[in-house]
Subunit: 131 residues, 3 copies
């Protein structure tokens, strides 16, 4: 089953927790056990599973990614967002999470996040549920 | 369905667009909907989904990865390609892309690339199509 | 089929080869062909497929990740392990490996590793085998 959801990001860099939407897709599938693929059809955002309990941590990670991929630089790309593409390479466009008894097997501290690197934008996330 | 294709890279660092080959494997499977896994059985190249429309962007990303993982360094690895292994850790060996009506759900700007970090070489890419 | 295994890491940073355990899960599934998802339900460790033949290479990669994500820093996170979370973002929590005739299609030099960034700890790894 494929389901596409819409996600709105705020600010150039943002993390949007989509765990609830992914769980909803798993529940809608009616499957008891399987694996879900969460995929962004974009090149300047990514998907990361990370702790959402402590908000300063997202700031730390955003800053760390900025340090690795500075926004300003001697880039050849025709737009000014080469750093956002680079961050998307580092985080990747997809994750897979197993589920059991219809529930995502996320750890206690894990949340599924759309990582925006060139926002604010409206993004699509494709959720594929497999047995 | 598993299908293995051969890809030749040019230069030490190269990005080879394999989107067409991945779509061909999906079409050959005859499946309408599912998810495809693209996997490299190598430790010094990776798979990245990125924009292929603007060639300077690949140069930007190659340079950014070089800045993060310098080729020359005080490495203990028995070969001179420790940086290529490190780049492969950052990009990862696999991606998954959902498909629908027999078509990959790639975004407008997305291409599937084998990222060569220790070429030129002949590489294998394994494509697995799941319902 | 979902199977959860326990893995113990040694030291703050460690790589634990779990290739044998993943192959065992594939064999137990009785499936001939498919794809296996290897997933950690944690936010300060990751999964990486890399060469295990040359032990100094793991040291090189550990040092390179430390250079990118320094342990000491001006972090806001309530615990002292922000760097471990950042490393987990870079490596990612999951990989997928196709298998054929009941055997993982790993390359000659590839091993599946749990990458510990905040150990020593006991970790869980979820292995999902799909047709």
């Amino acid at each position: 089953m494929n389901k596409t959801i819409q996600v709105s990001s705020r600010g150039r860099d943002d993390w949007v927790d989509i765990s609830r939407e992914v769980q909803a897709a798993v529940s809608e599938s009616g499957l008891d056990e399987g694996v879900v693929t969460v995929y962004v059809p974009h090149t300047t955002c990514g998907i990361a599973i990370q702790e959402n309990a402590d908000p300063p941590l997202k700031v730390d990670i955003t800053r760390a990614l900025d340090a690795l991929c500075p926004w300003e630089g001697n880039y050849g790309h025709g737009e000014d967002n080469a750093a956002a593409h680079m961050k998307a390479v580092l985080t990747g466009p997809s994750v897979q999470i197993p589920f059991e008894k219809g529930r995502l097997m996320l750890g206690t501290w894990q949340g599924i996040n759309l990582c925006e690197f060139d926002g604010p934008r409206n993004r699509r996330v494709i959720i594929h549920v497999s047995p």
